[in-house]
């Protein structure tokens, strides 16, 4: 139980860090000529680690917390469901943006602005989704946790 609580806390804090880390490329890559490989790779790393921790405690959340949250505060239970669905999008769009940005130099010069726009778009989407996930997750964790 203590281990779960620690993992959950780390997951929550890293989640907010991921939001900040995603904001960086979402702003920087608005300029299609800008290269920000380190920022992109770090953002992707933080998101993947955060998601991994979330997935690792998810089965215990289902058995230990989910039924009682739905019994006492169904709106918060549904908020957690929203968070889990949006989190899938966060991981996918972050990795998508990361791949598109890191592979920019593989494209011929005429196509690079198009690929850069794709990467920027993906990071903007990932940031918006991650912000929602962090807010929803914090709301649920403030109500009940391990």
């Amino acid at each position: 139980m203590v281990a779960l609580r620690v993992i959950e806390r780390i997951h929550g804090h890293l989640g907010w860090l991921a939001v900040a880390a995603l904001l960086h490329p979402a702003i920087l890559l608005a300029n299609p000529r800008r290269r920000a490989r380190l920022a992109v790779a770090l953002a992707a790393g933080v998101v993947v680690v955060t998601a991994g921790l979330g997935v690792s405690v998810y089965p215990d959340y289902r058995t230990q917390l989910k039924p009682s949250i739905f019994a006492t505060a169904p709106s918060l239970g549904w908020l957690f469901e929203r968070k889990e669905h949006l989190a899938v999008g966060v991981v996918a769009f972050t990795l998508l943006g990361c791949v598109a940005h890191l592979a920019l130099e593989a494209f011929e010069p005429g196509l690079r602005p198009h690929a850069a726009r794709l990467a920027h778009r993906a990071f903007v989407v990932a940031f918006v989704l991650a912000a929602a996930v962090a807010v929803f997750g914090t709301a649920v964790a403030s109500y009940k946790s391990f």
Binding site: H85, G89, A106, R117, V125
Partner: protein, 106 residues
């Protein structure tokens, strides 16, 4: 700073992009289907099942993405420009689907 990179990586990168778009697309579509199929069990009273719906949806989405991969690679080899344009447009469409499903159809 520019890094030299083999042009043969471009179709592979677009394949990865297509795979990464397919996963939330299929995941969201499966959840929409679940919700539209009728009221599910009450999570407050239903016995906890070993079947984790989220992991199941992710597995199916991963499988579908694996099937999309060779098609995306062939499309990218044929025309990088068109594939890039299609994937850019799909990025917006999938983002809208994820947002709508995630917020309105949890």
């Amino acid at each position: 700073m520019s890094t030299r990179m083999s042009p043969s990586l471009a179709p592979l990168a677009l394949t990865a992009v297509a795979v990464l778009l397919t996963i939330p697309l299929v995941y969201g579509a499966l959840r929409v289907w679940d919700v539209m199929s009728g009221p599910g069990v009450n999570p407050a009273t239903a016995p906890v099942s070993i079947h984790v719906a989220m992991f199941w949806r992710l597995s199916v989405a991963g499988y579908a993405a694996g099937m999309v991969a060779p098609l995306a690679y062939l499309a990218a080899r044929r025309s990088l420009r068109r594939t890039l344009d299609v994937l850019s447009a799909l990025t917006v469409a999938v983002a809208v689907l994820v947002l709508v499903q995630g917020t309105l159809l949890p």
